[in-house]
């Protein structure tokens, strides 16, 4: 029998989209929290039709990347743009410990759910706002994807050959979206520890751009001291043998102590060490799903449940929040809660 997980008993309301928000909540789930994902009938997580969402009868429940990322969460479909929907969210938050969101700045406030108001109303709540630039500052409203932030954080300037152009990871990685999850989950756990000690919640404001620059901290220090680094391709000043070379069996990453193949996606997916690892696991139905970036001896990594259909937990979650059957039925009839979106998949 595994030990209780570190976040057993913690309830998370997940308004997160795509990777940065939603995968942060998934990590909290992996650490033992119960997560309720809330989307709107007009505001689905864009992963629901990112790729592979065939325009079948319920395409929104069959998005490979959405289901991959959002396993283990209960699903509520609630229209926050309607004041009645926002009021329901407040009822749900009465029983929550953590709220995760990565909307465009100002969206939450537009629903009447500004973090400052939520902090006043729910002093023990930990609100996690993950954004490109942070909650404030002159550039907070700039539009970006993760790879835009590779440019503005300094990472792209240091990636690529010295004589070539700077290089970004692109659509498949969007690097700042990935690393922020690893840090955000830890920051939430730390805030819960703080709350354990003081009783006070917090509003955590995480800028993905700042985190990406933080991961180049030594380069900022060197630049400030007048000794900035240049792009250096695959070279390593401490290992002249390091390079990527074309060999008979394909590209290899080589260094003084050894060499390994440069794997593409297919080679990675079929590699024995990858299959034996924890980055991708399988749900009880055998479907591949997002894995874990760590292994607790007390709780070996596994995926206990798959992904719930959109809105399938509407009734249960709202009843737990204290709404009556009549209130829930009224919300259903008004379309404030739903089990299908109001639009078709993106072309």
């Amino acid at each position: 029998m595994p030990d209780p997980k570190p976040l057993a008993g913690i309830r998370v309301v997940d308004l997160g989209w795509l990777t940065a928000g939603a995968a942060s909540s998934t990590l909290l789930h992996d650490l033992g929290a119960a997560v309720v994902k809330i989307e709107g009938p007009n505001a689905l997580d864009p992963f629901r039709d990112w790729v592979g969402a065939e325009a079948a009868t319920d395409w929104w429940n069959h998005s490979p990347f959405y289901n991959f990322t959002n396993r283990g969460k209960r699903s509520v479909c609630l229209d926050l743009k309607d004041p009645r929907g926002a009021a329901v969210l407040l009822r749900i938050l009465e029983g929550a410990d953590v709220l995760v969101e990565n909307f465009r700045r100002g969206i939450l406030a537009g629903f009447g759910l500004a973090p400052a108001l939520l902090r006043q109303r729910f002093p023990r709540l930990i609100i996690v706002s993950i954004s490109s630039q942070g909650e404030d500052g002159p550039d907070r409203d700039l539009v970006s994807f993760g790879s835009t932030l590779e440019g503005t954080s300094g990472l792209a300037a240091l990636t690529g050959e010295a004589a070539g152009e700077p290089v970004i990871t692109g659509r498949n990685i969007n690097y700042p979206d990935q690393v922020v999850c690893l840090f955000a989950a830890g920051a939430v756990v730390a805030a819960l520890m703080q709350r354990d000690a003081t009783g006070d919640g917090a509003h955590l404001d995480l800028s993905q751009r700042e985190l990406t620059s933080f991961l180049l901290g030594e380069e900022l220090l060197a630049a400030a001291a007048g000794a900035p680094s240049a792009r250096q391709g695959n070279r390593d000043a401490t290992d002249p043998a390091q390079q990527v070379a074309v060999r008979e069996d394909g590209l290899r990453a080589e260094w003084a102590g050894g060499s390994v193949p440069v794997r593409d996606a297919a080679a990675l997916a079929h590699a024995a060490d990858f299959t034996a690892g924890t980055a991708i696991l399988r749900d009880p139905q055998g479907v591949p799903a997002k894995g874990l970036p760590f292994r607790f001896a007390s709780n070996p990594p596994r995926i206990a449940t798959g992904t719930n259909p959109l809105g399938c937990d509407n009734r249960a979650v709202l009843a737990e929040a204290g709404l009556s059957e009549a209130e829930i039925s009224g919300l259903e009839q008004a379309g404030i809660i739903a089990t299908r979106p109001r639009r078709g998949p993106a072309a």
Binding site: G134, I168, G258
Partner: protein
Amino acid sequence: MKQQPGPFAGRRVLDLSAHAAQVPHALAVAMAARLAADFGAEVVRPAAEGVDRLAKLPPLLPDGGSALARFLLAGRSNGEAGAFDAAIGDEVALAEVAAPLKVRISVFGAGDDPAMSELGLLGLSGMLAAVQPRQGVPVRLGGHQAPYAAGLSAFTALAAGLRAGRPDTVDVSLFDVACWLNWKAAASVLLLGDAAASREQRGGWHTLPAADGHVCLVYMAKDWPALRDMVGDARLSRTAFATQKARGQNLDALDDILRPWFAARSRAEITAAAQARRIPIGPVLSPAELLADRQYAARHFLTSDGAPRLPLLVDGARPDWRRQADKELPADA
């Protein structure tokens, strides 16, 4: 303003980065330990028995010191050895210490820890292949992204283990973390099939030269009409560029049309024009330029010597949770 004690206040963490047998492990351990210090733990880093490799790693400062050591080893205590709540290190180093919580860094997992470089981790995990210039071989991400990301994972595991408050061991695999970051590559193959995965990889995002540097050409299908109109070249209305798939297939032709428009304008002009149309294009900025960045200045992200503060605001303020006793020590002491 007086700061509250940090979330890890009162916790003692043993940083075994100086005793790690391999550099990637040492970097990951040190990143996790640095964050533990930033969150208020007392972090003790016993000196290396021989040469401390982290203390010598580039980039080097004009005074000969390592900027990496100054950044990564900040906040360590000169406290005595003794009882610790947690220890972070590689398998061999951890075997020699007693701590209720151990965070163990390896390549593939405990007992499976071959010689490995950072470049090797990127190569094996597919992260290297994903960073592909328009010409030439794939290139590694700048800095030390694979071990630092593992350090973030180790930090989160450390926090969770400390909160759980019972003896435990957490394994953080450098390889698994890199694969976890690169999940979309493998997931595309496993969920969509090899052919679909190949299509998915062609996003067409890359950098383009501007008059004073480069910008990141990043856009989704929905942004295409705005991008086309911003550049204003009639050729962009051809069917060869009508869909995301077609643009992916005609990337070089598309670039040939876009390049002159971008090359004739500064990064600021391009960014302003794109942002006015809500296209997520932004400039490539160097670390030196970031020192004067208005957003970072407004949020007090960098210290006067360029060191990044904790990338987190709590209730609108950047926390300063490091133990007072540790603030006076030189970071690379």
